[in-house]
Structure formats: C-alpha cells, structure tokens
C-alpha cells in the first residue's frame, strides 16, 4: 500500500538518558512526602523487542495507574476511594541496551468506572511506548494473571481472544526481590507491519 511505503520507515525521535530523573521508574519513591505509599510493592519489568525478537534499546516507556485503593489522582476521577498522599501513579524510563526496563510500583486496585451498571476494571497499568519508527508508537494496558474481572471488562474483551494473553503479565517468583517485592514480567513486541486485527 502506497501510504505505508511512505510512512512506515519514518523515525521517531530518540530520547537520551538525560531526560529521565533518578526516581522516574520508582513509583514508590517519586511522589513520596512523608512515608512510603500504601499497598503491595511490586516490580514490573520486561523487554521491548521487534517481531524477530531483537531487543529495542532507548525506547521510551511511560506508565500511569490507579493507587492500591483503585483511585486515580486525575482531577476528573470520581470513584469514592482514598487518594494516597505519597503516590502519584506516573513513571517513565528508557529501555537499556538489551531492550530491558524495570519499574517499582504499588499493585493498582480495581475500580468501578460507570460504563454500565457495576462495571469494574481489572487491575491494570497503562503503558505508552515510543519506539524507533512511527509504527512503533503504542499505547496499551498491562493486566495481572488470573484476574476474575477479565470476563466482565469490555476494554480487555476488545482484544481478540487469541491475543489477550499478550496483555497479561507473567508472575515471576524467580525475579522477586526476596523479602521486598514480588515480580511480574511484561514483554512488549513492536511492529508496525503486523498489527493485531481488530475487525
């Protein structure tokens, strides 16, 4: 297709380490005021790769999420759950030379969102990913394994059945920080040419 020929190879800007602050990838610290945020501390890490499994370095990953009570700090949020003065819920980092990234955060809570009666979102973290080509610009959501809300959530269900597993992080006991934080693995595959079919 003509359009693809013109656009698919357009590079996106490459960001350098200098834009990332010391605690940008640690959501348990980057809004800390007087003590650590409440909730279950976790580590979310993984690799960004192309469809051939080649690691993509210097990819900008930005995340946002609800706090452990299922409350977003966003001003339009109306769910009656407490804010946490020590938690913002935003973070970012760049992948390293092996395509790897890692965040410390608090496991987000589920929350009702008013889409239909008693509609609850499964626990999730929003990801914005900016790779090297314009087709590498991805916004998605990461879910946690075994969430009982999957079958009730139209946003999760908007992904074709065969591709849903790609949005669910894997629990990695072997990646935990012993006595400190449980670990989840979430790998991201970028490719502008073979998008998941939606229709």
């Amino acid at each position: 297709m003509l359009v693809k020929e013109y656009l698919k190879d357009l590079s996106l800007p490459a960001f350098g380490e200098s834009i990332i602050g010391k605690f940008d990838n640690n959501l348990t610290k980057n809004a800390r005021k007087n003590h650590d945020p409440i909730g279950e501390r976790i580590k979310v890490s993984g690799k960004v790769m192309d469809e051939d499994g080649r690691p993509l370095r210097n990819v900008l990953i930005e995340i946002w999420q609800a706090n452990s009570a299922g409350r977003y700090i966003h001003k339009e949020e109306i769910h009656d759950a407490p804010l946490d003065p020590n938690f913002l819920g935003a973070g970012r980092m760049l992948t390293d030379n092996e395509g790897k990234y890692m965040f410390y955060t608090i496991k987000p809570g589920a929350y009702p969102w008013g889409n239909h009666f008693n509609a609850w979102r499964p626990n999730h973290i929003h990801f914005s990913v900016m790779g090297h080509q314009i087709g590498h610009r991805l916004v998605t959501q990461m879910y946690f394994p075994g969430d009982p809300l999957f079958e009730f959530d139209p946003i999760f269900q908007s992904v074709p059945v065969h591709a849903r597993e790609l949005l669910i992080a894997k629990f990695r006991m072997d990646w935990t920080d012993p006595e400190f934080a449980l670990a989840y693995e979430f790998n991201i595959i970028l490719n502008g040419k073979s998008k998941t079919p939606f229709e």
């Binding site: 693809k4 656009l7 350098g16 809004a31 051939d52 913002l88 973070g91 610009r137 959501q141 998941t196």
Partner: protein
C-alpha cells in the same frame, strides 16, 4: 524460519493519562519531557502556531484526547536526537486545559523533506479509540499538488489535511481541526 513474535495489542488511552503524559500542562507535580513547544525562540526558521480542535461525530470538541506532532526543521531535516536542542520537532498536548478544548502548538514551519511538501506528522490517542490514529498537516500556502502521498488521497477529501493560515496579534497561526467522523472526517493513514 524462526516464528515471528506477535505484536502487543493496542488498548485505549482512557481518560486519565494526563498526570503522566502531559503532567505539567495539567498542573500535576511531575515534570514533562515533551510539551506544546516544538521549538524555542532561537531556532532557525519561521515561527508559527498550530491551533485546532478534535471533534467527535456529533460536532462536539473532545476534551480528553492527546495529540502529538512530529516534524522536520526549517531545512527539512528531522532532529532524530531529542535533547535540549533549540528545535526538537516533537510535541504533545492534551485537549483538556482550555475552555474551548483546543490545542495550540508552537513550532517552526517545516521545510520540505525529499519529495514531500512541507508537512507535520500527527498522532492522536483518545478514550474512544482502540489504537493510535495517524494523519498529516499540510499548509494552504504550499505546493501540495507535488506531494505523492497527498495526491494519493481522494481529491475531495484532501482538504481535511490542510491547515489554514491566519494572522492573529502579529502571530502566524495555522488552523487545523480534526474530525473523527462525519461528512468532514479527517483522512487517517494506515501505518
């Protein structure tokens, strides 16, 4: 041949991205690495502003969309290394901080790149969309007919890609509205 890995599916950006992706614009206590200025005042080229709205199918301005611009500099070169350069070429705004839900970017009029007329790449995310939407801004005072991509669009729909030049308070302001649906639906490109 090795089996290809499957691409991570896209999901909606949802309504709550602002405190991470456009935090400073919305007044959250988290610094932003990109914003509505693609340039500072010292960069070479003609300083312009790009202003517009994103409209839904009922003609209402969408208040929780995010729009990104990516363009070449005045000489037609992309600044591929984003840093503290005076010209960055990449910008990002949400549509939720002005009373009329408009966005206004400050930039430099791009030069033409290879065989393309001067243009700006646009990426849009919004709650109502499952994936990124891609379009382009061309300018009403350029020779767009010489641009192959522009010409590949149906003639009657090309106008949805054209920003209209105005002068406001001595500033050069190009107006570019985006229509998600309806009679004037913007041309979106498949990447």
């Amino acid at each position: 041949m090795m089996k290809k890995l499957r691409q991570t599916p896209s999901q909606t950006i949802g309504p709550f991205f602002a405190y991470s992706l456009t935090a400073e614009q919305y007044g959250y206590n988290f610094n932003s690495i990109v914003n509505g200025s693609l340039t500072d005042d010292t960069a070479e080229g003609k300083k312009i502003f790009i202003k517009g709205n994103i409209f839904d199918g009922d003609g209402n301005a969408i208040h929780d969309a995010m729009i990104e611009l990516w363009q070449a500099d005045a000489n037609g070169n992309y600044q591929n290394h984003f840093s503290s350069n005076n010209f960055k070429g990449f910008g990002r705004l949400g549509t939720g901080t002005t009373s009329d839900k408009s966005f206004t970017f400050k930039t430099i009029k791009p030069g033409s790149v290879a065989n393309h007329a001067p243009h700006i790449n646009v990426i849009i995310f919004m709650r109502g969309s499952l994936h990124a939407l891609h379009t382009r801004i061309y300018f009403d005072d350029e020779q767009n007919e010489e641009d192959t991509l522009y010409n590949s669009v149906d003639a009657e729909r090309r106008k949805t890609l054209i920003a209209i030049r105005n002068e406001e308070d001595g500033k050069v302001m190009y107006h570019f509205d985006i229509y998600m649906q309806g009679e004037n639906e913007t041309v979106f490109f498949e990447i």
